[in-house]
Amino acid sequence: MLASYGLIGLFFIVAILFSLVMVIIPIVLRYLKIVPHNPNAIKESIFECGVETIGKTWVQFNFRYYFYALVFLALDVLVVFLYPWAVQLRQLGAFSLYVVLILVFIVLVGYVYAWKKKVLEWK
C-alpha cells in the first residue's frame, strides 16, 4: 500500500515540474526574442474598467465569509466521521446506524440554530 503512495508522490512531483515548465517556457522564449516584451505604464496598470484605482486592494473583507467557514468546519468534521462508518455499515448493522443518527442530530441542532439566526442568508 505504501508503494502506491510512493507512486502518487512521484507523480505529484512530476505534475508540479510539468506546470512549472509550462510557465517557464514563455520566459525562455522572451529571451530568444520570440515572445514580445514592451512594458509601459498604462499596460501595467490595474484593469478596473478604465477608472483609476482608489486606495489599496487588500482591504478588509466582508464578515459573512467567516460564518460560512465556521458552519462548513463543523459539518465537514461530521462528514469525515461518516466515511469509515459508511464503508463498514453492512458489518456494523443497525446499532451503528442509531449511534450515527444521534451524532448527526447533535450537529443538526447547530445547523437549524444557524438557519434560524439567519447566518445562512447572504446579506
Binding site: 506546470s19 510557465v23 522564449l29 501595467e44 478596473e48 465569509y65 462548513f72 466515511y83 438557519w115
Partner: protein, 373 residues
C-alpha cells in the same frame, strides 16, 4: 491507443497485476505518468472543441470551423497563439504569488487522475481510500485560484476569488455527502472496487445522490450556471483579469481539466466506469466521460447564471438537507434489507427522489420575486 493492448487481452473479471511487483514498479510509474498527462491534455483539447462546437450549435451559430477539418485544429492554434503572447504583470501585483498561482492551481488537478481507473486495475495507484483522496485533492486547486485573485492586486479579482472560495466551501458538503451514499451501497472507498461492484449503474440506485453530486460538482468547478467568480457583467473576468499569455492559458487548462476530472469521477461513481459490452473498457470510459461533459455543456447553454445569494441558498438550504436524507434512506435500506435485489431499490429510490425534489421545490423558491440581497 495501442498502449492498453497488454491489459486488453485479459478477461474483465481478472485482477491485473498490482503495481508493487519487483522491477515493474518504475515501469508502471513511468507509463502511467506519461499516459495521464497525455490523456489530460488530449481530453482537454477534445473538451474545448466539443464545448465550442456544441455551444455554437445550441446558440444557432456554427462555432470554430476554419482551422483544419471541421475546425478540429482550433485548440492547437489557440495553444500556439497563447504561447506567443506577451506576459503582462501589473506593477501593483504581488509578483511571486501572481507567478506561482497557475502552478498551484494546475498540479492538484493533474494529480486527481492518479486514482481514476481507465479499465480494470489500469490506474497509477489503486488506493483503498481512492474517493476520499479525490475529495481531498480536488479542493486544493481553489488555493491557486485564491492566490491568483489575491496576487493580482485587482479588486474585481479579489472579489471573484473570494466568491469562488465561498462557493467551493459551501458545495463541498452536499458533494461529499452524496459520495457517502455511493460508499454505503458499494462498501468500499477504492475507485476500482466501486466500479467492479457496480452491476447496476449507481445512477439508478442513487438517483438523488447523482443529481446532488452533479450540481455540486458543477458549482465546485465553476461551470456556467454557477460561474459567479468570473461573472463578466459584474467582475470583468474575475480572478484571471490580470493574466495574459501562457499563465492565462494555464487557468483555461485548469478549468477544463477540472471539468474532465469531475466528468471522469461521475462516470466512475455513477455510470459504472469502464464497464460495458462490446467496446474495449478504456473506450467506454472515455465515451462516458464525454457524455457527462456534454451534459455540463448542455446545462451551461440552457440555464441563466444564478445570483450569489441564490448560489449560497441552494447549497445550504436545498442540497444539504436533501443529501442528508438521501444518505440515511440509503443506510436504512442497506441495514434492513441487506440481501434483497438492488432492482427493488432502483424503483423505490427513484420514487423517493421524485417526491423529495417536488416537496423541496414547493418549500424553496429562488426564482420568484425579489430576494433580499
Amino acid at each position: 491507443m495501442a498502449i492498453f493492448d497488454s491489459a486488453l487481452i485479459q478477461p474483465l473479471a481478472m485482477q491485473v497485476t498490482p503495481p508493487d511487483w519487483p522491477g515493474g514498479y518504475w515501469w508502471h510509474w513511468l507509463f502511467f505518468t506519461v499516459a495521464i498527462i497525455a490523456f489530460v491534455l488530449i481530453m482537454v483539447m477534445g473538451a474545448i472543441y466539443l464545448e465550442r462546437r456544441g455551444m455554437g450549435r445550441m446558440q444557432s451559430r456554427l462555432g470554430p470551423n476554419r482551422t483544419g477539418p471541421f475546425g478540429l485544429l482550433q485548440p492547437v492554434a489557440d495553444a500556439v497563439k497563447v504561447l506567443l503572447k506577451e506576459n503582462i504583470v501589473p506593477t501593483t501585483a504581488d509578483k511571486i504569488v501572481h507567478w506561482l498561482a497557475p502552478v498551484v492551481a494546475f498540479a492538484p488537478v493533474l494529480v486527481i487522475f492518479a486514482v481514476v481507473p481507465f479499465q480494470n486495475g489500469a490506474m497509477l495507484a489503486d488506493l483503498n481510500i481512492g474517493i476520499l483522496y479525490v475529495v481531498a485533492v480536488s479542493s486544493i486547486a481553489t488555493v491557486g485560484v485564491f492566490m491568483a485573485g489575491w496576487g493580482s492586486g485587482n479588486k474585481y479579482s479579489l472579489l471573484g476569488a473570494m466568491r469562488n472560495v465561498a462557493a467551493v466551501v459551501s458545495y463541498e458538503i452536499p458533494m461529499v455527502l452524496a459520495i457517502v451514499g455511493v460508499v454505503i451501497v458499494s462498501g468500499s472507498l477504492s475507485m476500482n472496487q466501486i466500479v467492479t461492484g457496480q452491476d447496476i449503474p449507481y445512477i439508478l440506485v442513487q438517483p438523488l445522490g447523482f443529481l446532488i453530486f452533479f450540481i455540486a460538482a458543477c458549482a465546485e468547478i465553476n461551470r456556467s450556471p454557477f460561474d459567479l467568480m468570473e461573472a463578466d457583467s459584474e467582475l470583468t473576468a474575475g480572478f484571471h483579469t490580470e493574466y495574459s499569455g501562457m499563465k492565462f492559458a494555464m487557468f483555461y487548462l485548469v478549468e477544463y481539466a477540472e471539468a474532465i476530472a469531475m466528468s471522469a469521477i461521475i462516470a466512475t461513481l455513477f455510470l459504472s466506469g469502464w464497464r460495458g459490452p462490446w467496446l474495449p473498457p478504456w473506450l467506454w470510459f472515455i465515451i462516458k466521460t464525454f457524455v457527462v461533459f456534454f451534459v455540463m455543456v448542455w446545462t451551461r447553454t440552457t440555464l441563466p447564471r444564478v445570483r450569489i445569494d441564490q448560489l449560497m441558498g441552494l447549497a445550504w438550504k436545498f442540497l444539504f438537507p436533501l443529501a442528508l436524507i438521501n444518505l440515511f434512506v440509503t443506510a436504512i435500506q442497506v441495514v434492513v434489507w441487506p440481501d434483497i435485489s438492488q432492482w427493488i431499490f432502483v424503483i423505490v429510490n427513484i420514487a423517493i427522489a421524485a417526491v423529495l425534489i417536488l416537496l423541496w421545490s414547493k418549500f424553496f423558491k429562488l426564482g420568484q420575486g425579489r430576494v433580499e440581497v
